[in-house]
């Protein structure tokens, strides 16, 4: 991306990103807001022992990366919206490219590269010190204007 476009509605995005960071599961994992511009958001996840997936190697569990990618990808969509709406993850695919180094934060930069009336298409990179040497790469799709489903 050559030029960073401003967030569509900074007030709406702030409301949403503040809310995201206070969500119980985002707090328990320890998400920290990083950066955002139109179509793009970065979230930081500091290392902590509770997130370890393999005690022998102290590598963070892949499931933690799934949470980070899901939240950041959803956040990237809100940089493009001007009105509040609910969105729901339809699917998410993650490729785990290398184990994360213990004791260092993981960053996730997500991009919404296509927004249609009903669907948002996202891609995200999880990395540590170099975005060109990622820990994981992900693509996802989200449903816009999702409403609460009444289980039948």
């Amino acid at each position: 991306m050559s030029e960073k476009k401003p967030i569509a509605s900074p007030a709406l995005f702030k409301q949403i990103s503040d809310w995201f960071m206070t969500l119980p599961h985002c707090q328990v994992l320890g998400f920290k807001f990083g950066d955002a511009h139109y179509g793009c958001m970065t979230v930081c996840l500091p290392f902590k022992d509770e997130l370890i997936g393999n005690p022998a190697t102290r590598v963070i569990h892949g499931g933690v990366v799934t949470s980070l990618v899901d939240s950041t990808s959803a956040g990237a969509i809100y940089t493009m919206l001007t009105e509040l709406e609910a969105i729901a993850t339809l699917d998410l695919r993650l490729d785990y490219l290398r184990p994360a180094k213990p004791d260092f934060p993981i960053y996730c930069t997500a991009e919404c590269y296509k927004l249609t009336k009903q669907i948002a298409f996202t891609r995200a990179t999880a990395y540590q010190d170099d975005i060109n040497d990622p820990v994981a790469y992900s693509v996802g799709t989200f449903m816009r204007n999702s409403v609460r489903e009444v289980p039948s």
């Binding site: 119980p24 599961h25 997936g53 005690p55 022998a56 499931g63 949470s67 339809l90 998410l92």
Partner: protein, 138 residues
């Protein structure tokens, strides 16, 4: 290396040895000779306070843990399988209730296993999510 999972009791011990599995609160038991994983509801697994709903990452992380442990149980390997890729389809909102998960090894070769996972709540014919993953075994 971790102790081999040879029975359902050692499966529970293995679950407790994974810090992230403990953080989520994952438990396991036997059901028809297969491991059944379950996640009792905990407030800190909420990802949407308005609905309210479980965080999508919690459902994904729960299934990913279940798949790793299922592979370890099925193959009695000592090393923790390494995840290559993971793909999840979210089918229903995860309500603030217990979540169940079961896995099926679709194909296991010498180096790679392909695992299918299903998560549901009160009715196993109405899954909350389905996922598939590849694991590197050695």
């Amino acid at each position: 290396m971790s102790p081999p999972i040879t029975d359902f009791a050692s499966l529970s011990i293995a679950v407790d040895a994974v810090p992230y599995a403990k953080l989520l609160g994952i438990q396991s038991r036997e059901e028809n000779g297969q491991p059944l994983f379950f996640l009792p509801f905990q407030a800190h697994n909420i990802g949407n306070t308005i609905l309210p709903a479980l965080h999508g990452g919690v459902i994904g992380g729960f299934l990913e843990n279940a798949a790793i442990l299922h592979v370890m149980w099925a193959s009695e390997v000592q090393s923790v399988p390494k995840i290559i890729d993971f793909s999840i389809d979210y089918l229903r909102t995860g309500r603030p209730e217990v979540l169940y998960g079961q896995c099926e090894i679709i194909r296991q070769g010498k180096r790679v296993a392909n695992v299918l996972m299903t998560a549901w709540q009160d009715d196993c014919s109405k899954p909350v999510a389905v996922a598939r993953a590849h694991f590197l075994l050695a």
